[in-house]
Subunit: 367 residues, 2 copies
C-alpha cells in the first residue's frame, strides 16, 4: 500500500487514475475480447493506454498513477505499462460501472494520502496537444483543491453530436482560458434537434468522462448521494488494495451498476467544469480515424500499405497486405492478422453486429 | 511432330486448340503478370485452363489437344497440364493476335494430319453444362467438315452487353437445336442503343471467340484474305513446331498484329455460326462472379470465409482471412496472398488502374 503521505506541496498530492476496464467491440477486427480498444495503437508508437499514462507524466509521475481494470486485463496492463508499480494496479472485484469503480480507487488512494486529489481518465481517448491538456489539468487540480468541488472536463462541441452526454454551464468561476464554470446540469445524449439547439446557445459542453476531485470530497459526495456505494466501500475498507478478499468481492458484486455521473455528479451542487480547449476524440468507432489520421486531399485516411485510387473520404488500415481501393466513397476497410472488415463509415457502429454474429455462431477464433 | 495421320473415322481427325496466351490484369490481385486469369481457379477444383481442356475430353483426347501460348507460360502450362504431350504445346514466336497465332497452330496440326479439323477455345471461359457444349461442338465439327466452312460459336445474348462483338445470322443451315446459320456479318462492340436494337431483332449472337474449321480450309482462307500471314507461315513451314528457329521468329515478329476475326472471318463468305445454347461466361472481371458463384437471397456471392451482414449484391473472395462486411452494396472485396482489392462492381474493369499505378511506381512485388 505504500506509506501514508502528509504535507508537501500541492503537486505532491496529485494522483492519476486511468480506467482501463472497457470491453468495446467497435474496433473489431483489431479489438478482441482479450484485447479491447485501450490496448490498441491507433496512432504513433503507443497504445491508447500507454498514451494516456504518458500524457500525465508532466504533472503526475508514474508512482502516483493508478490503473483500474478487471482481473482479466492484469497481465496485458503489466505488459503495456512495465514501469507501473505493482500496487498501483487496482483490480475491480466486479464490473459495476464507474460509480463503484472510482469510489474504490478513491479509497485506495485516500489510505495512502488523505490529502490526495485524483484525476480520472478513460484509457481510450486521443488528446492533443499535450501543452493545452496540461494547462487544463493544472486548472482542474487547483479548482478541485481550492473550491473542494467535483471537477469535470467539458469539451467545446465541434458539431451536434448525438453520441455524447452534454453539460450545461452555469456561473463562471474563471474567465481566462481555460474557463471554469459551475455546472448548471448534466443532460443525457440528445436527439439531433436538441443537440443543434445546445450548440446554438453556446452554453453546452460535451461530457468527456474525465474528472478531478479530492478523494475525501468524493467520499463525502458518495456518502450524501450514493450511500449504498459508500457503505459497501466502508465495509471493504480493510480489504481494499490490488486484490480484494472474497467476502469483500461479494459485497462489491451486490452493488448496482451505476456511472459516477448518475451516482454523484448529477446530484451534487458543487460540480465545476473546466472547458477543455484541446483536441479530444473518444475514438468511438473506426470512422473516428478520419479525424485522427492524416487525410489526403480527397479525405482519404490510410495506415500501412494502402492505395486509394479515385476514392473519397475512405479509411483503410493495412496490417501487411496491400489494400487497393478503386472508386469507393465513405468506406472503412481494416485488415487485422486474421480478418478483414469492410463497412460504410456511417455503419461503423454496426461492427458490433459482426461480433454478435460470430458470438452466436461460437466462432471464437475471431472474438 | 508425331506421324502423319490419314484415313480413320471423322472423329479421329478432331483436334482441339486452346489459346492460353492472355495477359489480362482485370483479376488482380489474383491474376499477376506471371499468372494471368487462365491459371486461376474461379470455381471448383480446376483452373480455367484445366477446365477448358477437361471439357473437350469427351470428344478430343489429350493427344489431339494443343495449347498455344507465349514462351513465358510454358512452365506454368506444363504444371497445370502434366498429361499434355510435350509436342502439343505450341509456343508463339511473338504475340501477334489470334490471326497469326491460329494460322501457326493450323500449320502445326496440318503437318500431322492434313484432314484435321481443329476447334479453337480461349483458355479462360466458363462453360456449362458439358452435355450441351458437347452437342454444339459435334454439330460444329460436322458443319466444318461437310460444308468446308469456317464455323464460329455464337452465344444467345442474355442482355444488351456492350463488351462483346456481335454476329448477325443469315440463312439457317440447320433448324433443330443447336441451330446453325450462315453468318450475315460480324459487328464490333456496339453502343448500348445499338445493342438493345440487336437484342430486339433476335438475329444477333455474341461473338464468343470459339471456332471450328478444317486446317486446310483455314490455310486457304488465309491465302485469300490475309496473304501476308499465309506467306509468313509458308516460310516458317520447315520450322513450325514447339520451338521456332530464330530466323522464323523474326518473320513472325514482322507480321501485323491482327485477330482472326478481322484477318479471315469477317472477309470470308463461307462462315457459319452454331448457336451455343450452353451457359457461357468470358469471366471479364470480378463482377462476373455473381453469375458464376452461388449467391444468397440478397445476391451476395462469397468464396472462403466470408460474413456478409446486411449486404446486397456483393462479391467477396477470401484467401484465408475472414472477410466481414456490414451494410454494403454492389461491392467487390478480394483477398489474395499479399493484397486486398476493394471496388464497386461497376468499377471492376478499373482494377487495371491499380495495376497501372503499381507499374508506374515500379512496385513489382504486387505485379
Amino acid at each position: 500500500m505504500g506509506a501514508r503521505v502528509r504535507g508537501g506541496g500541492a503537486a505532491a498530492h496529485r494522483y492519476g487514475v486511468v480506467m482501463a476496464g472497457g470491453v468495446g467491440s467497435r474496433f473489431w477486427p483489431h479489438s478482441r475480447r482479450r484485447r479491447p480498444k485501450q490496448f490498441l495503437t491507433v496512432q504513433g508508437r503507443y497504445t491508447l493506454l500507454e498514451d494516456t499514462v504518458r500524457r500525465l507524466a508532466g504533472l503526475i509521475p508514474i508512482e502516483r498513477t493508478y490503473v483500474v481494470a478487471s482481473a482479466e486485463f492484469r497481465r496485458l496492463i503489466r505488459r503495456h505499462l512495465p514501469r507501473l508499480p505493482v500496487e498501483n494496479l487496482i483490480v475491480e472485484p466486479a464490473a459495476r460501472g464507474t460509480g463503484p469503480c472510482l469510489g474504490l480507487a478513491a479509497r485506495v488512494i485516500e489510505r495512502r494520502d488523505p490529502d490526495a486529489i485524483m484525476a480520472v481518465f478513460p484509457a481510450d481517448h486521443v488528446i492533443a496537444p499535450r501543452a493545452k491538456f496540461e494547462r487544463c489539468l493544472r486548472v482542474a487540480f487547483a479548482t478541485a483543491e481550492t473550491e473542494r468541488s467535483l471537477v469535470t472536463f467539458g469539451i467545446k462541441p465541434t458539431g451536434p453530436d448525438t453520441g455524447f452526454g452534454y453539460i450545461e454551464v452555469g456561473v463562471a468561476q474563471r474567465r481566462t482560458r481555460p474557463r471554469v464554470f459551475w455546472v448548471s446540469r448534466f443532460v443525457e445524449k440528445p436527439d439531433e434537434t436538441t443537440a443543434r439547439r445546445y450548440l446554438r446557445t453556446g452554453r453546452y459542453l460535451w461530457n468527456s468522462g474525465m474528472f478531478v476531485w479530492r478523494v475525501d470530497v468524493l467520499r463525502e459526495a458518495l456518502e450524501d448521494h450514493a450511500p449504498d456505494i459508500a457503505q459497501a466501500l466502508n465495509s471493504l475498507d480493510g480489504a481494499v488494495g490490488p486484490a480484494v478478499a472474497a467476502a469483500a468481492r461479494r459485497k462489491f458484486e451486490r452493488l448496482r451498476s451505476v456511472p459516477i455521473d448518475v451516482a454523484v455528479m448529477e446530484k451534487s451542487d458543487r460540480v465545476a467544469v473546466v472547458e477543455g480547449d484541446f483536441d479530444w476524440n473518444d475514438v468511438g468507432s473506426w470512422a473516428a480515424m478520419s479525424t485522427i489520421w492524416p487525410v489526403d486531399e480527397q479525405g482519404n485516411a490510410g495506415r500501412g500499405e494502402v492505395l486509394q485510387i479515385d476514392c473519397r473520404d475512405t479509411i483503410a488500415s493495412s496490417e501487411g497486405k496491400l489494400i487497393a481501393m478503386v472508386g469507393v466513397e465513405d468506406l472503412v476497410v481494416v485488415e487485422s492478422s486474421d480478418a478483414i472488415l469492410v463497412c460504410p463509415k456511417s455503419r461503423a457502429q454496426d461492427v458490433r453486429r459482426i461480433v454478435d454474429t460470430l458470438t452466436k455462431r461460437r466462432n471464437r477464433k475471431y472474438l
